[in-house]
Structure formats: C-alpha cells, structure tokens
Symmetry: C2
Subunit: 219 residues, 2 copies
C-alpha cells in the first residue's frame, strides 16, 4: 500500500513537471511569435493550450483519488493540496501565454508592440521565460535557490510593467489607441505570469521548509 502510494505521489510530481514544461514552451513560443510576428507559431500556442487544460484535469483527479484511497495526513496531504493549487497556477500561466499569442495573432502582419515599447516588452519576455524555466527546475529539484530566482524575475516583471505604463503616459508617446490597448494588456499578462510563478514557488518553499516567510502564497 505504502509502495503504491509512493509511486502515485511520484507520478503526481511528474505530472506537475510536465505541466511546467508545457508552460515554459508556451511562454517561449508566445514570446517569439510576439517579437517576430510569427502567426503560425502564435496559432500553435493557442491550439496547444487545450493539452495543458487536460493535464490540469489529470492532476486534479489524481489528487482527489489519492486523498480518497490513501487517506494521507501531514506532509503528504499538504503536498497533494499544494499540487492542486500549483496545477491551477500553471494552467493559468498557460492561459496568459495564450493571451500573449492572441495579441500577436491579432496584430499580424504588423507587430503588436510600438517601437518605444520594444525594449521593455523584450525585457518582459526574457524575465518571463527565465521564471518559467526556473519553475520547471523547481518542480524537478525543489532547490530553494531556484525559488529565489523566481522572486527576482517577478521583481523585474513588476518594474518593467510599471515602465511600460510610464512610457505610455510620457509626453513623447504618440502610439495609436490600438497600440495603447495592446501594451496595457500585454504588460499586464506578463506581470500576472510572474505573480503566478511566485505563487507556485511559495507553495514549494512552504512544503520544503514549512516556512511561509511571512508571505502567504497568493494563488
């Protein structure tokens, strides 16, 4: 019974790794589609999101069955509950990558990014891809240094988000209303992506250390 439980917990961890890899691929491809006006790539990200939704459903069902059949307590139970939360966050990160791809697709063949925002949005893609790759590493290794990296990426995203809005409102800005709308939403999608990555990371830190670090996970 215990061996079976251990195997099932390990499969659950594997599902979360698979979800995080899917998210990393989605944000990487959505970023490229956005920066290079690649509508086929944007379309692929949008189409692939259904796979992440299926993975989330698998994780959720596995968690409910594990609780019902094995009646775990203590850390095992908290790990399963955290897995439910993490799968919801990863699914939402996939949605945000999809929204970014949708912006790229809508603007095609033009770029969704006005010239004065290019550097900021490029910076956001770098920070988001780094956060996504660290979430994968965290799921695989539970190494807490990785968690600190995710918080730092999120700080970068928050700073760039504020910079994107400040640039919109600066006196020199002359973008169209469509460009203003695109940037206001794109900057928010990236910023929320970082929030969810931090949420995932805090759940893992809590499982490993039992320490909320004064910050409750906000998922």
């Amino acid at each position: 019974m215990r061996t079976l439980f251990t195997a099932e917990m390990s499969e659950l961890a594997g599902d979360l790794v698979a979800m995080s890899r899917h998210v990393e691929s989605a944000i990487t491809r959505a970023s490229e589609a956005l920066l290079t006006q690649n509508v086929e790539l944007a379309q692929a990200v949008i189409a692939d999101d259904a796979k992440l939704d299926d993975l989330e459903e698998t994780v959720d069902e596995r968690c409910v069955l594990l609780i019902a059949q094995q009646q775990p307590v203590g850390l095992d139970l908290r790990t399963i509950i955290a897995s439910l939360r993490i799968s919801a966050s990863l699914e939402r990160m996939g949605d945000l990558a999809q929204h970014i791809a949708e912006s790229a697709r809508r603007a095609y063949p033009e770029s969704a990014i006005p010239a004065e925002h290019l550097e900021i949005i490029e910076g956001m893609t770098v920070a988001a891809k780094k956060a996504a790759s660290e979430v994968v590493a965290l799921m695989e290794t539970r190494d807490l240094n990785t968690a600190a990296g995710i918080v730092s990426d999120d700080d970068d995203l928050d700073r760039l988000h504020a910079q994107a809005y400040a640039t919109l409102l600066s006196s020199g800005y002359s973008g169209s209303t469509q460009e203003t709308l695109d940037i206001s939403l794109l900057a928010r999608y990236f910023e929320r992506f970082g929030d969810h990555a931090v949420g995932v990371s805090r759940r893992i830190v809590y499982l490993v250390t039992g320490d909320h670090r004064g910050n409750r996970p906000r998922i």
Copy 2:
C-alpha cells in the same frame, strides 16, 4: 464523530457564505467609488481586502484539517476540494474589486471613465453586482436557477467588455492615453470578475448535479 463532521462541514459552508458576502460588498462599494469619484469609499474597499484574505486562509486551513482528521470520501471529499477552489476564486474576485477601487483612487478627483464609456462601465457594474449577489444566494441555497443567472451576467460582462474595446477603437474616440489605459484595465477587471463568478457557479452545479455540463470549471 459524524455529528462533529456535519457541524464542521456546515461551518465551512458558512465561511464561504461570509466570503461571498464580503465580495458582494467590495464590488458594490468599488463600483460606487468608481462612478461617483468617492475616494474614501475606494480607500475602504482597498483596506478591507485583507479581511477576505484572512477568510480564505481560514477556509483553506479548515479544509486541510477536515481532510486530515475526518478522512472524508465521495461527495464530502469533493465538497471540501471544491471549497478550496471556490475560496480561491472568491479571494480573486475581491482582488479585482480592489483593483477597480484603485483605479477610482488614482483618478480622483477626476473620474477614471471617459464620457463615451460611462454607459458601458455602468452596465458592467450592474452585471458584476448582480453576479456577486447571485453568488451569495448560490452559496446560501445551492439553487441552480441562480447558477444560470450568473452565466447570463457573465455573458453581459463579455459583451460589454467587447463593446468597451470597440468604443476605444472607434473613429470618434478621442480619449487621452491615461483614459485608454484605465478603460482597457477596468473592462478587463470586470470581465475577469464574471469569469470567476461562473467558475464558482460551475463548481456548485457539479456538486449538486454531478454534471460538468461539458464545461470543466475554469478557475
């Protein structure tokens, strides 16, 4: 043991009612603050959000303890897992009300809403308040007609969201960049509020009927 369990499940349901009432109050006051430039009211909504966060924490802890101590299965277990999901959605709805209040506060003493958007945003406040009040009723009664009302409010919010963006992009629109930014975010906050209300409602429908209606809850 069973009596205790029943009492605890009833307290859990009561906590969710309390959370939904908090959300209804937050969106009602945030809407009024937004439409009447009432900065004190906006400030109160922002300050009160911490109470909702505390309630979410209470619900989450209660759920984990209930599972650990009572080892529920079947519908009881699914109800507890659904409660975890619902509390996360309600907490997020509170965050969105807070963001709306923050928009009102930032624009004060001006209105955050350009004249050409006033009717649309008023419509969004009506639909969001209606959805919030139906979520309270659903938590109290589990009446499925209420669930249908929430889906219809969300349809209204989606339609008004599209209309808000179409108005931004219409040839007659002459708002400032700040106004464009405010509307793009405000319309999205209301639209997401509706999505979360539907997510809550689908969780309840599933518990009552066992029927996903072909639509997995998207929380």
